[in-house]
Symmetry: C2
Subunit: 342 residues, 2 copies
DNA sequence: GTTAGCACTCGACGCAAGAGAGTGCTAACA
DNA sequence: TGTTAGCACTCTCTTGCGTCGAGTGCTAAC
């Protein structure tokens, strides 16, 4: 059987209607809803076909039809309209300039959640590819030194390192110069063993400190990186009855709190990059078990050279895909602009 | 009417039983449960009295009784037994030494949630009273300097400040020395105007930088302070049917996500300090609207001199008060010990 | 003061009946 | 040949009703 133009229109109408109401939609509704001027009986025939083809399904005989995952997929891939709606206000909310990455990301998650009424998450740009701008060691007290690392985009990391031998101010200054001259401008995964041994050699007596520092930096950055995901609007899932039952809600909220699974999901997105940077997972397409009854839309954003992070929006399968995609597009460009001004 | 020993025992039995089952408890159950050897009829009479006195109530005629807020209050105040249970494992989980305050607090929240099966929150020690250990300004690039502040307990804060005039390395060094000599060892709320103007004077040409720095520091610290609350185990509320209905669950989860209200709650605790540092809010006693159907147990902890924070546990009114209080006690001492080792 | 017995109350559960929405099928129509 | 009207059928959801059982309050006896 072929999916002709009329069938497409009917499918589209079914989906649109279902997105709005969340109720199974019947043939009669469609017959009025569309401008096709067909009777409900004709629609019924077509809908039977669509069901056979797997685009829609019936919860039970004598209920209306609801879109299947396959149906949503077709809709998202070919039938969506771009909307340029009231996405404008977001701009203002973000523009209050944030100098701290963390606050910025929190804010983005919040704005998105308020704007879309879905649950949102955002991962911080991966630090590993991020270039080092500045390193400084300073003595805090006799036994500890503080290592401050600033990377592109003014992301700051601190690490307190214990030291055994006393270090004079002079040595510390030397070490600072050494570290900065060698490492400045490099991305974290560009630091290789050769470079490290070279620095150790130049550090002479204090070679063990150099490796301590580098180890600690790598360690600290990696450890934090895994968890840097900000979420907002979790409780929006209660707006959608199909997600709000105890079992599902509990699992979802747990997923959002634990963040680890979110990390995998967002990572997955970066892997499957498709050009626009926006990706839609419908129902069972998500790699995360607890989201089997949801849809997830993710977008990668880029802050300058190679600093990539991911934003995700989680909602019911009858999510307003058009709006969500439009909103994510806006955010993508917003973040881009914001960085340029910095 | 007077609350004699027998009535107390019956009340206690009602509460204990209700804590376990969550179901209204009837006279017959009590008559077997206790060692009083009274028939159900006698218990019924006593229970009627207890109800009249306001300690228990009936959801409807011909149901068993459940404790009222007043009943719980009496229980918590006078009838609880201290339990020294399997709180030991916690120790091990915390002992993996954390050098970062943030990670430590996250871990505490998580351990508590796992251990008690309730939702938990913990606020970071108030930085305002915390003593400055070390300040350092460094140039990141032409237009920005980075201010790093380390306070007692190795809490590190960063702020990136924009500067207008070029600053030479030399000036920066002078400023660093100036700031450190004046401010080292002071708590944040000990920095007064006189001191600031003195420093400005000494800074000469660069007096505006000094005030910039101080403003920014105060600002940055205050802003972050409000939000530094870590939560865990939010989805535990689904374990208790009386909290798990959509309306309540949604509100609660929202409260936990927004954190602001939690802040007020925790602050309130610090105000009403009562010696042990542990406080129990039952039902409508909480200052937070959305927790009217919950009980909240809070504890203040102290890391060294004046660095106080608060831990809170939120659960149903039929919370296992004994265990929760015992657990919080343990955590209090754990945190204390942990700091001493630092 | 304590207990046994009994009538009463009230929610939970199950069942049946009826309403309503929607379908599939058939036959008529353009 | 595609479209439509009509009709019987299916299935869910709601409502009402009767029953069951847990638990109570009250009274009378011990």
């Amino acid at each position: 059987m072929e999916l002709d133009e009329r069938k497409k229109k009917i499918l589209q109408a079914v989906i649109r209607n279902y997105l709005e109401t969340g109720e199974p939609v019947g043939s009669r509704t469609i017959s009025k809803y569309t401008d096709l001027n067909l009777s409900s009986a004709t629609i019924r025939n077509e809908m039977a076909d669509l069901e056979e083809m797997g685009y829609i399904l019936q919860p039970h005989t004598s209920a209306g039809r609801i879109p299947s995952d396959k149906g949503y997929r077709l809709y998202v891939d070919t039938m969506m309209e771009e909307k340029e709606r009231e996405v404008v206000e977001m701009k203002e909310m973000l523009v209050e300039r944030q100098d701290k990455m963390e606050t910025l990301l929190r804010q983005v998650a919040k704005v998105l959640a308020q704007n879309t009424q879905y649950a949102t998450m955002i991962s911080a740009p991966q630090t590993r590819r991020n270039k080092l701008k500045f390193i400084q060691l300073s003595r805090v007290d006799e036994k500890q030194i503080l290592a401050v690392i600033v990377t592109e985009g003014n992301v700051v990391k601190n690490n307190i390192l214990p030291v055994n031998d006393e270090l004079s101010d002079e040595t510390l200054l030397k070490l600072n110069i050494l570290l900065n001259t060698h490492l400045n401008g490099l991305a974290l995964d560009e630091i290789n063993l050769g470079m490290i041994s070279l620095m150790k050699q130049q550090a002479g007596l204090h070679s063990d400190i150099v490796s301590d520092v580098i180890d600690a930096l790598a360690e600290g950055i990696r450890a934090e990186e895994d968890l840097e995901i900000y979420t907002s609007g979790t409780n929006n899932i209660f707006r959608y009855p199909e997600l709000a039952d105890q079992q599902k809600a509990s699992e979802l909220i747990n997923t959002f709190e634990e963040k680890q699974l979110l990390g995998e999901l967002l990572q997955d997105t970066q892997a499957e990059e498709n050009g626009t940077g926006i990706q839609v997972y419908i129902g069972a397409e998500t790699p995360v078990q607890s989201m089997r009854d949801c849809s997830v839309v993710t977008a990668t954003y880029e802050l300058g050279d190679g600093m990539k992070g991911t934003i995700g929006i989680v909602g019911p399968k009858r999510m307003d895909y058009d709006k969500v995609v439009a909103t994510l597009r806006t955010i993508q460009t917003q973040l881009d602009e914001l960085y340029r001004k910095d």
